[in-house]
């Protein structure tokens, strides 16, 4: 499929999913009337739509865009198709740092900064451990870092009072239920900024597919460009974890599906990944809300239910392209 066709298709589907997600549930008709501000619409419904539902849908789309772009960038940087923020310890590091910041009652922005720090520290640790070794080492090092962060997180959670314990546990499972305007205003501009910044690394990441040395010979400062890529990916994944918890496998599934559809051309993939990620999380959030209505599932459960078998499929596939 040509990149242009896919871009139009993805943009249309994401727009449609956004719209459906905005209106879905009971009173969809009233919500539509409120959205369009039709005569006689319910003012309270409109207020709820703009104050709760719109930020939630916007947060879900932005988080998906950030996770997919981060996943694609990390896979390209480490020449490893299986690298994903949740699998290589970035989300674990971010969650631990964010939980520590939450326990210390830091304000929301400071929690996000802490999560970015945790994500970056985990990513640097994992990439240092895997440097010069087989590509599978990156995943194994990630498993170890995830286990360590998970244990420390459990230790921290076990010291929390009951109410806080429940909310932190629910947050960790990944959810957009608590999304508000502040969160949407953090995630949406960040998604645009990270997407634009990573697109500027597109030619570098494309050259990197020939190897670090070949990228240098092609005119790129691999150290500097690589550091920028890693920092942006850690920022994207860290902030999403701090705001929405663990929404796993989006950074694995979106790039893989796109590579399968358009081939390995990083500048194109970086344009498409935010849309594909947004579409996946919008659908996952919709499923989380509607599957067991009126109860609500954590969105991380839905993405993991889809993503874990996808990961197993990639593992058992005849020949992963880099791993």
């Amino acid at each position: 499929m040509s990149a242009r066709t896919l871009l139009i298709l993805l943009a249309s589907l994401t727009g449609l999913a956004f719209f459906i997600s905005l209106l879905a549930g009971e009173h969809a008709g009233a919500r539509l009337a409120a959205l369009l501000a039709l005569p006689g619409h319910d003012a309270l419904e409109r207020e709820l739509l703009l104050a709760l539902r719109l930020p939630r849908v916007l947060s879900a789309a932005a988080a998906g865009a950030l996770l997919a772009t981060a996943g694609l960038a990390i896979q390209a940087r480490f020449h490893n198709d299986l690298a994903e923020p949740g699998l290589i310890g970035i989300s674990g590091g971010a969650a631990l740092a964010a939980a520590l910041a939450l326990a210390a009652s830091w304000p929301m922005l400071a929690v996000s900064v802490a999560a970015f720090g945790g994500a970056l520290a985990a990513l640097l640790l994992v990439s240092h451990l895997a440097r010069g070794r087989a590509t599978a080492t990156l995943i194994l090092a990630g498993v170890a870092v995830n286990a360590l962060c998970g244990s420390l997180l459990t230790l921290l959670i076990s010291t929390l009072p009951d109410g806080a314990l429940r909310s932190v546990t629910f947050w960790l499972m990944g959810s957009f239920a608590g999304s508000d305007g502040r969160q949407a205003w953090l995630l949406a501009p960040l998604a645009v900024a990270v997407t634009v910044a990573l697109q500027r690394q597109g030619r570098f990441l494309q050259a990197l597919q020939l190897g670090d040395r070949a990228a240098f010979y092609s005119g790129f400062n691999v150290g500097r460009n690589g550091a920028v890529t890693i920092a942006l990916a850690a920022l994207a994944a860290g902030v999403v974890v701090s705001q929405c918890g663990m929404v796993g496998f989006v950074g694995l599934m979106a790039p893989h599906i796109l590579r399968r559809l358009t081939g390995l051309h990083l500048p194109t993939l970086l344009k498409l990944a935010p849309l594909a990620g947004a579409l996946l999380t919008l659908l996952a959030d919709l499923a989380a809300r509607e599957l067991l209505y009126p109860a609500e599932l954590p969105v991380g459960v839905i993405t993991s239910l889809a993503g874990a078998p996808f990961f197993l499929y990639l593992l058992t596939r005849k020949r992963p392209s880099h791993a």
Partner: protein, 248 residues
């Protein structure tokens, strides 16, 4: 002119006091036994390994002072085992490292490297020889699309995946390219007879030490090659005076 003056390296393999010069339009071949440091020297000339001592001058400028972008405009390198990125089309690979792809140059490069029919192929589906040709075309595209006044092509065993006839043809084509585009070329080779036939200059390397450097005919003597390769050789020549060596 690309000049290497008393270059020494500690990592990844030691090199001691290497000096050579390569002018535009010239093919210089680095020869030596396995483990002599030929590829290390080539990558040091490419700027990948920093010199422990000595200097490399590219058109009068110190190589160490040039950033990666400037370097790429005046030198390109084709690796011994070039990457075969699955899912990437040959047409996309050919534009890597080219800031502004030039269709006119690309057409010429494709014809010179015989890659016209490969454009839509996935790199993973290429044979060893096709992959080498595609990477050569990419490196040429990178160099020829740049406006640098002096340009150098570095080749690490460019004939490794080729049969005897194709290897001979490849070297002949490279020489023509060097002269036509006034490119300086430095190639690492294993085949002494290919070097003897096509190189303008030869550098003989053993255990990281330069044994000789200069015009091919003067450097490649039987005694010197026997010393470098630790083996007895016999020298043959045809009625055109073209020499060749075989191991005894």
């Amino acid at each position: 002119m690309l000049e290497i003056r008393r270059l020494s390296l500690r990592h990844p393999a030691p090199l001691h006091d290497i000096s050579l010069a390569c002018a535009a339009g010239e093919l210089t071949v680095i020869l030596g036994p396995n483990g002599a440091g030929k590829s290390t020297l080539l990558h040091a000339i490419g700027g990948y390994y920093p010199a422990a001592a000595g200097e490399i001058l590219l058109a009068g400028e110190h190589l160490a002072d040039l950033d990666a972008g400037r370097l790429a405009s005046c030198r390109a390198l084709v690796e011994q085992h070039p990457a075969r990125p699955a899912g990437m089309r040959v047409a996309d690979l050919l534009c890597i490292g080219v800031a502004q792809p030039d269709p006119a140059i690309l057409v010429q490069v494709l014809a010179l490297s015989d890659c016209q029919t490969l454009l839509a192929r996935d790199c993973a589906s290429l044979s060893g020889g096709e992959l080498q040709r595609v990477h050569l075309a990419r490196a040429l595209h990178q160099l020829l699309a740049s406006k640098a006044p002096q340009r150098y092509l570095l080749l690490d065993e460019p004939t490794a995946a080729l049969d005897i006839g194709a290897a001979n043809q490849q070297l002949a084509t490279l020489r023509q390219l060097a002269q036509r585009w006034q490119l300086g070329m430095i190639a690492v080779l294993h085949d002494v007879n290919l070097a003897l036939r096509h190189a303008d200059k030869v550098l003989l390397l053993k255990d990281g030490v330069q044994i000789a450097h200069g015009d091919t005919a003067q450097v490649m003597t039987q005694a010197r090659l026997e010393q470098v390769y630790d083996t007895r050789l016999a020298e043959l020549s045809d009625h055109h005076g073209q020499r060749a060596f075989i191991a005894c």
